[in-house]
């Protein structure tokens, strides 16, 4: 009798509290379709970064050419250079960045919860990531495609030859889904062997457990250099999917999003205008109004973005233009030696295009 009285007394109390507190969450739960977003509130991460004086950049740290930690503890790669460009624009110091290594499973949660300011981690820009995962993507910094690597002596020349064979794949990436889609389209059965860690994936392939391994072409090229006998492996020409790689921030921060967009475009624009880290000083005294506006000697384009008027000049001085970044990390002098392919200016047949700086 006493116990039931207790329950009768507590229950309405708990429900009352739940109703009060739950109301704030009710508006978000009314829609039933997945991925539909309530209007996101504006965040001011941009101001937080400025007051902190340092950018926290989420990278992989394990992909040579994109984000890799060298034996001296220094980070290098295209993704790394993008973050350094932002730091250069904000603080005139490309080293005002803290890098955090993230694996493919924790990268989105780290961004969503605010553990990193920006995710510059070889992430493919897809519709679902743009909407239901709550990310906002910057312009594409590297146009990649998914490909397959096999051993030269296996006799596999195309996807069809992989019928009933084992293919190594890393979990949680677009790679998994794309492979499933392409094989389903062609009606080929296969056996996926999926791992969490990228190192384990490649090690298993190297051991011979899988007949093929699939990942972004740039990742395959870069990791092939770490295999015991790189020459024994070849990357098939067949392109399984397009993978536009772009940096991402958490949704709802319009100021950060705009600034990030134009930081990336400034790298392309500088290459279009022919400005490099070596000659940016000379270009400062140029008569071309385009260049004057771009470098900030005339007008104040940066103000609207929350940056200084010479933000583009800072970026080019400290980090270089897109061509310099590419050559430094993936160019002919590096082990990777990836041809620019689609990552070339539009005027030279590639996909890089910057809107006007005016």
């Amino acid at each position: 009798m006493r116990k039931s009285a207790l329950i009768l007394a507590i229950a309405p109390l708990v429900f009352a509290i739940a109703a009060c507190g739950g109301e704030s969450g009710q508006t978000a739960n009314t829609a039933s379709t997945p991925g539909s977003s309530a209007a996101p509130a504006t965040r001011n991460r941009w101001d937080t970064i400025k007051s902190r004086g340092q950018l926290i950049c989420g990278v992989s740290g394990e992909i040579p050419g994109f984000s890799f930690v060298g034996t001296d503890g220094k980070y290098s790669g295209i993704d790394v250079d993008i973050c350094r460009a932002i730091a250069a624009a904000l603080f005139d110091n490309p080293d005002a960045v803290e890098f955090r290594n993230l694996n493919s499973k924790e990268r989105f949660t780290a961004l969503q919860t605010g553990e990193v300011d920006i995710l510059s981690r070889n992430t493919t820009w897809t519709l679902s990531r743009d909407s239901s995962v709550g990310l906002e993507f910057a312009p594409v910094v590297f146009y990649d495609g998914q490909a397959l690597m096999v051993r030269k002596n296996s006799g596999i020349k195309s996807l069809a030859d992989l019928k009933d064979k084992a293919i190594c794949v890393q979990t949680g990436t677009t790679t998994e889904q794309n492979l499933a889609d392409q094989m389903r389209k062609r009606g080929i059965t296969y056996k996926p062997v999926v791992f969490e860690d990228v190192n384990v994936t490649f090690a298993t392939y190297a051991q011979g457990r899988c007949d093929g391994i699939t990942a972004d072409r740039s990742a395959l090229v870069s990791r092939r250099t770490t295999l015991p006998k790189p020459e024994d492996n070849e990357i098939l020409e067949e392109v399984i999917s397009s993978e536009p790689l772009a940096p991402a921030i958490a949704k709802g921060d319009a100021k950060f999003g705009d600034a990030l967009k134009w930081v990336v475009y400034s790298l392309v624009k500088a290459e279009e205008l022919g400005i490099t880290s070596q000659n940016v000083g000379q270009f400062a005294s140029s008569n071309d109004p385009d260049i004057k506006r771009f470098l900030g000697t005339e007008g104040n384009l940066g103000e609207g973005l929350g940056l200084t008027k010479d933000f583009a000049a800072r970026i080019i001085k400290h980090v270089g233009n897109y061509a310099e970044i590419y050559d430094r990390n993936l160019g002919p002098k590096t082990k990777l030696n990836l041809a620019r392919g689609q990552n070339q200016l539009w005027s030279k047949g590639g996909l890089l295009y910057s809107p006007p700086f005016r």
Binding site: R2, L6, A9, I10, L13, V14, I17, A18, C20, G21, G22, S24, G25, T27, A28, N29, A31, S32, P34, S36, S37, A38, P40, A41, R43, S104, K105, F108, T109, Q112, S128, S131, S132, V133, G134, C168, T171, G172, E176, Q177, A180, D181, M183, R184, Y190, K191, P192, V193, V194, F195, E196, D197, V200, A203, T204, Q207, G208, R209, K251, G252
Partner: protein
Amino acid sequence: MTNDKLPIWRDNRFWRITLQLVAVFLAAVVVVILWGNLNRNLRQLGIQFGFDFLKQQASFDIGETLITYKPTDTYSNALWVGLINSLRVAIAGIFLTTIVGVSAGIARLSDNWLVRNISMVYVEVFRNTPLLLQLLFWYFAVFLSFPKTENKISFWGFIGVSQNGLEFPWFTLSPEFSALLLGLTFYTGAFIAEIVRGGIQSVAKGQWEAARSLGLKPGLVMRLVIFPQALRVIIPPLTSQYLNLTKNTSLAIAIGYPDIYFVASTTFNQTGKAVEVILLIMLTYLILSLTISVAMNLFNRTVQIKER
């Protein structure tokens, strides 16, 4: 009976009830604050909390499945496949590890010097190294070092061992499954060996002597007299080890075996629904663990009753 009315604040029952009410109220307030915070932050990111994503197409393949599964099936189907895979390893693992553990535990107390020391080395090595390392060892150093399936090593004509795993005439166990199963079996077996040894040593020495004086051989003494009494001490910690084994199957992701944790984390990576997926996995493991606990507690009770 005297009917002296105490003032309400002197009444013990009043205080007990009030304090419990206050505690429940505070707990409810904390939960509501956290829930409101979660919802606020998710809304700011434009993410919805909900389990509707389970009806979406999974569009990823799963390497090993006992039931039919296609990439066009829903996420909830994929999670079921993962659950069945986890159960396969857990059930086979519990069965095998009991055999290994009990044998090693009894061997530890053997009169034979060699048997005793081999068992000691086994227990010390497998208990003191991390499980993840052991799984990687089984996978890379053992299973992936076997020859390719064309040149498989054959035992007794019907078990073939190769890089494709353990090949029996009717079915094949993949190297991922075999490595996970064997790794978990031997790791947990080492702990069970010590539990068994402790249980056997807890039986009074007088029981040994009485049994021997009845003329029973050492093997029969162990089986008929000592071990049934040792079971009373062994079963509670044994339950913990079974639960450990079940939860440790989540390490499968490190060696490519698609268990429920692996499928769930792929799901969460592709849909971005971190909170919902984590809740699902926690619930799954909780139900599995509680089931095993309940079963073992029932078993425990039957062992207890036999005493008197």
